[in-house]
Amino acid sequence: MTQVKALILTGFGLNCDHETALAFELAGAEPHRVHINSLVAGTVKLADFHILAFGGGFSWGDDHGAGVIQAVKLKNHIGKDLLAFVDAGKLIIGICNGFQALVNLGLLPGLDNDYTRRCVAITYNDCGNFRDQWVHLAANSTSPCVFARGIDKADFPVRHGEGKFIADPDVLASLLTGNQVVFQYADKTGNPANGAFPFNPNGSIHDIAGICDPTGNIFGLMPHPEAYNHVTNHPDWTRKKQQRKSRGPSFDPDETLGIRLFRNGVDSVRARFF
């Protein structure tokens, strides 16, 4: 059975490539860390892969807007290959800086299947500073997003200075009717945070933490699922271990929600292409 091949972009200040590659490996895919210049020079072909990951980091130092120069460079050199990749029904995931690049490229939100129109943006946090915390997420079970299938709620870390999702009211309305809002920042009980800081860490409208395109194949989110690749990543793991221990069963670390999200993508590709 040939392997599901995932391409993880590296270089120019991207810095989550190693753990994103590991997450894909644990999820059953064959990860390849590929420098952006290798794609630009054509020594690596995008068409040879099934999943493309725009990982986290500070591409070009976030100068002139997070993900802006990355989007310009990729659109300028492999714009057509990206659109062909989308047309082939392959999967794209953009995490944090990667989500910013996807919205600057226009691959998200992909309204009316137009993958070039820039109509949403991710801008400076309302709190006016870079912020690292874990967030609770409420998932929209009706969204077509392949990666989030079967996940109703999740905890992941966020680390950004520009994470506030904004869009004009008409664009927001289309996203809601198309069920393209995948994750919303939630409070401890799992209900949407309604903008309350710090549950909503950046002031995103409608508590939006992640969206997908109408087909569900392209997914962008600010939280980092790859940073929940081991049970001890979770901030409350020592408390959960102690509660389980007191109730008897040994605390065997089953697959984390972070890896499960990647596995959803890998399994859907395997079902679709093999």
Binding site: E19, S38, I69, V120, T123, D132, D168, A227, S246
Partner: protein, 1000 residues
């Protein structure tokens, strides 16, 4: 042709940058700004066609959803406008990335004298604004004159067409580069030259330098090369390598130590050899996990059978005190280059910080160059950008306040890397330069910035420190360079690598050429930021983000191919030889030709007198404080003190999750708001092994005796590791000394001898503690001039010295992270234990400081008891008995029981009479606030307590109470069996977050 693009966020969007200015203007200076907007500006000094200008304005620099932009000044009205730009020669990071993006989009490259310069202008509206108030904002908040310039426009001055009329901040030196011969006919002449050129040569070195150049044989060889007297390049080279920063002259100096009381008189020949090198080499034999110490850029220890970890820590004080942001970002990005330059190069996997600043609410007469509040803001942001943008998690850090640091604030930065044990079958920690290897310089370009960085840090800061001394770190360029160099390492292309830190090329090439015993350097090949630098400037410049690499000629093509793929600039600037000479040329002419072993030539060790006055001889006695009645008030007051309270707003700005290996985070507890004992990280994501890291700073005890300051600091660092699951069998140490000037001088340093004695005692304590707990010192640094001369109200200058300060960092390997633990009590019914003796040791405690007292009973570490107790706690942790474990630190039991209560959000009922204590420690207050070393608080489930007590039999471990969910209060009954404290969580939390609660 000069064009200018102006970009601003749409009116409807929240302008975070401008609102932060409005907030600070109000809270710091009481200046009311009704509204403000920020405009980013790109000044393009290149001949671009209007069509191209319009294309880059739209496709690169304007986000249609959030921004408006224009090629002429935006019509945003204001009462006053402040324009802020960088001064010529200061690294413009966004300017460089803008050029990269334009070159990529338009497919053209920029000429040598073309460039892009970024700046910004704030449009401020407010009836009460006046020119002088706006001037205050520009000077005090927005622009630091060392690296920035500003212009102020009133509504009337503003010309809608010309706008801010920004001139390109281009450096035009119009100076033909060269070198000069310097006549040093007498020692006095050389001493005068040393002052004029800021060489900071020690008087004892001057005759030795002159004799070298007067030696007939040397002079003859030099004549062959066309040289007569020394050149400026050579003198600068000698000054760099002989500077205290690079040569640690103090720690290699001779100390005549006398103790007034005991009449002891000892000659210490080298504090370094006796108290750091010798114990570490002895322990290296016993600890097989120690791989490489005492020579490379960082120490190396075994992490697992396939990987080694690397650690080093240093300070970046001088520059941070003049330009907080630039100094701090350069500090963190700079220390990250050490692990990159250790062995064949390691991958960074975590960093930590330590800030020691003055009182940020100071409003007295003294005028430090930067107010502590502004300095702390700048330092926090510098380490934030430097750390986050490098993709390295900042997993641990502390911030301390003391009036002494207003003289000179301290910025500690520590970096850890991970690397495979073997590369292409060869040990990765071994490297050498061989004759014929090419000298490559990779990364940034060279400019005037940072010239005399090390010599300035070897002087106590005063008004003659050269302003051009500070640079801005560029984590983006460095991250690209690290990705590139790791790939080169794995392909076996790197023979030797080191970083360009203090002293620039003169140190990196000078030191690495010692191994091959010679080198030839062609300074005209070195890529420059702007033309016109003299040879000596290129040779000693400390421009950032540069590594020096030895490459075998046969690997050059592959090395350069990878360099261009990673968009990193690499240049061959010379080659290593074995001629025994350091030979530098410029356009074929020799400008330096000295013997490699010139610097081992009998430079006399520096000498110091050290006279110890014991605390009693200095009039220090215990204060007389009758027992207070309001213990609730005392505990909340202690929690609200700056050195104890929550500083969550700093830690939350640092990414501590990148690389996905976080196990124990900087903040723990139910609300993720209580500082953890130590961090634990998995640098290798495919396994369950972790690296625990702790760090301790207890400078206050130096007010009584630096010996006990050191032992307590190391003891706490060890306990912090054990509290999260570390092991006594594997503890590595890093010592960072920051000391006021110890060279006695009747007028400028009359208490020099006392501070010298404190240094000797601290070093003796370092050895005693390291030998007791078997801690090899993997790395360490010293910064010996933490004094400042602050201007007073009447034009006088008052010397303010920092406390004798040591930051001790420690590492331990955790075989299975699943057995790690945090300090938050987890379940009702668990028993609370205190391990370790509480004695009457309130000397220099936070409690006495509350009353403005020092006292005399400084805490004393009992190593013998500690070793046994910590192994018992380690064993219990290994068996996963404790549900929580916490090392008791600053503030004593009262404070740390409160922290645990807040962390668990569960009630704790404590009986002080059960606390294991010395016989003379009977009072509630002493048991609550004594800062005795060697103690833990643990909670253990009821069904485990019998086994736990058996394991601790015969040790000072007692059950002092229970955890409950009947309430969430900290209830403490005193020695008299009466309830002396009853504090619910929300009251504790309100006190704990009060001082900095509104900061984000």
């Amino acid at each position: 042709m000069i064009a200018c693009i102006e970009i601003a966020l749409k009116q409807s969007l929240r302008d975070a940058d401008a609102s932060s200015l409005v907030k600070k203007a109000g809270s710091y200076f009481g200046i009311q700004i009704q509204s403000a907007r920020t405009i980013h500006m790109l000044t393009i000094d290149a001949d671009l066609k209007p069509m191209d200008l319009e294309r880059i304005r739209q496709e690169i620099f304007t986000n249609p959803v959030t921004q408006v932009s224009s090629l002429s000044p935006l019509e945003i009205d204001f009462h006053w406008c402040i324009w802020i730009g960088l001064r010529p020669g200061v690294k413009d990071n966004p300017g460089a990335t803008a050029m990269e993006a334009i070159e990529d989009l338009l497919g053209r490259s920029f000429g040598p004298d073309e460039g892009i310069y970024t700046s910004k202008r704030y449009c401020l509206s407010g009836e009460s604004l006046t020119r002088s108030r706006v001037e205050t904002l520009a000077k005090e908040l927005l622009a630091n004159p060392i690296i920035q310039q500003y212009k102020i426009f009133s509504k009337a001055d503003w010309h809608p067409e010309k706008g801010a009329d920004v001139k390109p901040a281009r450096v035009i030196l119009d100076h033909t580069p060269g070198f000069d011969f310097i006549d040093i006919d007498s020692d006095q002449t050389l001493a005068k030259i040393s002052d004029q050129r800021n060489l900071a040569l020690n008087p004892r070195d001057i005759p030795v330098i002159r004799q070298y150049f007067l030696d007939p044989e040397v002079a003859a060889q030099r004549r062959v090369m066309g040289l007569s007297g020394p050149t400026d390049v050579e003198l600068e080279y000698i000054s760099q390598t002989r500077s205290d920063h690079c040569n640690h002259n103090t720690f290699n100096g001779i100390f005549r130590y006398t103790d007034i009381l005991t009449r002891e008189e000892t000659i210490e020949h080298s504090l370094f050899k006796t108290y750091i090198q010798q114990p570490t080499l002895a322990l290296k034999e016993k600890k097989e996990w120690v791989v490489s110490v005492l020579w490379d850029n960082a120490g190396v220890g075994v992490f697992d059978e396939h990987n080694n970890y690397v650690i080093t820590g240093e300070t970046h004080n001088s520059p941070s005190n003049m330009e907080a942001y630039g100094g701090a970002i350069t500090g963190i990005v700079g220390v990250y280059r050490d692990p990159m330059g250790t062995g064949l190069g390691s991958k960074l996997f975590m960093g930590s910080f330590g800030f020691c600043v003055g009182d940020i609410r100071y409003d007295g007469p003294l005028k430090p160059p930067l107010h502590p509040r502004r300095l702390l803001d700048g330092v926090i942001e510098g380490v934030r950008d430097g750390g986050n943008k490098s993709g390295v998690p900042t997993t641990f850090g502390q911030t301390l306040f003391d009036p002494g640091y207003m003289g000179k604030s301290l910025v500690f930065v520590t970096a850890l890397g991970i690397m495979p044990g073997q590369v292409k079958g060869r040990p990765s920690h071994e490297k050498k330069t061989s004759p014929g290897d090419l000298i490559l310089m990779s990364g940034g370009r060279v400019g005037k910035d940072g010239i005399h960085g090390v010599t300035a840090s070897s002087e106590s800061y005063s008004e003659n420190t050269p302003a051009g001394h500070v640079q801005i770190g560029d984590p983006y360029t460095q991250k690209k360079m690290q990705d590139f160099l790791l790939e080169c390492r794995d392909e076996g292309l790197i023979r030797f690598i080191t970083d360009n830190g203090g002293g620039g090329l003169s140190s990196s090439i000078g030191e690495s050429a010692m191994i091959s015993n010679g080198c030839v350097v062609h300074l005209d090949k070195v890529p420059l930021k702007y033309p016109g630098l003299d040879m000596w400037e290129i040779w000693v410049s400390e421009s950032q983000e540069r590594m020096t690499i030895a490459v075998d000629p046969k690997d050059l093509d592959r090395f350069m191919a990878l360099s261009s793929q990673h968009a990193v600039e690499s240049t061959v600037i010379g080659e290593y030889t074995d001629t025994g000479k350091l030979h530098i040329t410029f356009q074929g002419k020799t400008c330096a030709y000295v013997d490699m072993d010139l610097l081992d030539k009998g430079f006399p060790a520096w000498e110091f007198d050290a006279v110890w006055l014991p605390p009693a001889a200095r009039g220090l006695t215990e204060p007389v404080i009758r027992t207070p009645r309001d213990v609730n008030g005392l505990i909340t007051a202690m929690l609200a003190r700056p050195n104890i309270c929550s500083k969550e707003w700093i830690l939350r700005q640092y990414d501590h999750e990148v690389q996905g290996g976080s196990v124990i985070k900087p903040l723990v507890g139910v609300n993720h708001n209580i500082p953890s004992d130590a961090s634990v990280t998995r640098p290798v994501l495919t396994g369950n092994r972790g690296l625990a890291f702790s760090q301790t700073l207890l400078p206050w005890y130096s007010k009584i005796d630096a010996y006990h300051m050191m032992t307590c600091t190391i003891d706490e660092a060890v306990r912090r590791l054990i509290a999260v699951g570390g092991s006594m069998d594997h503890i590595g140490g890093v010592d960072n000394f920051c000391w006021p000037d110890i060279e006695y001088d009747e007028n400028t340093n009359p208490d020099g001898r006392f501070k010298a004695a404190q240094l000797v005692r601290a070093c003796r304590a370092l050895k005693d503690a390291c030998m007791a707990y078997e801690i090899p010192l993997l790395s360490g640094k010293d910064s010996m001039y933490v004094d400042g001369h602050l201007e007073g109200a009447f034009g006088e200058r008052i010397k303010v010295s920092a406390l004798e300060t040591v930051q001790f960092s420690a590492t331990s390997v955790v075989t299975d992270v699943m057995r790690c633990q945090t300090l938050d009590p987890k379940a009702a019914g668990d028993r609370v234990y205190v391990a370790g003796i509480t004695a009457n040791e309130l000397g220099a405690s936070e409690y006495y400081d509350l009353f403005g007292r020092i006292g005399a009973n400084v805490p004393r570490v009992n190593f013998a008891a500690g070793k046994v107790l910590y192994r018992a706690v380690e064993k219990a942790m290994g068996l996963e008995m404790p549900a929580s474990c916490h090392a008791v630190g600053r503030g004593g039991l009262g404070v740390h029981l409160a922290l645990m209560t807040m962390a668990g959000k569960l009630g704790m009922e404590i009986d002080l009479s059960q606390v294991p204590a010395a016989s003379d420690t009977r009072s509630d207050v002493v048991r609550l606030f004594s800062e005795s070393a060697g103690r833990f608080v643990l909670t253990v489930p009821e069904d485990q307590s019998a086994v736990f007590e058996k394991l601790c039999k015969g040790l000072a471990v007692c059950c002092v109470g229970t955890v409950t969910d009947a309430h969430d209060c900290l209830k403490i009954t005193g020695m008299g069996k009466d309830l002396i404290a009853d504090l619910p969580c929300d009251i504790l939390e309100e006190a704990f977050t009060k001082p900095f609660g509104e900061m984000i």
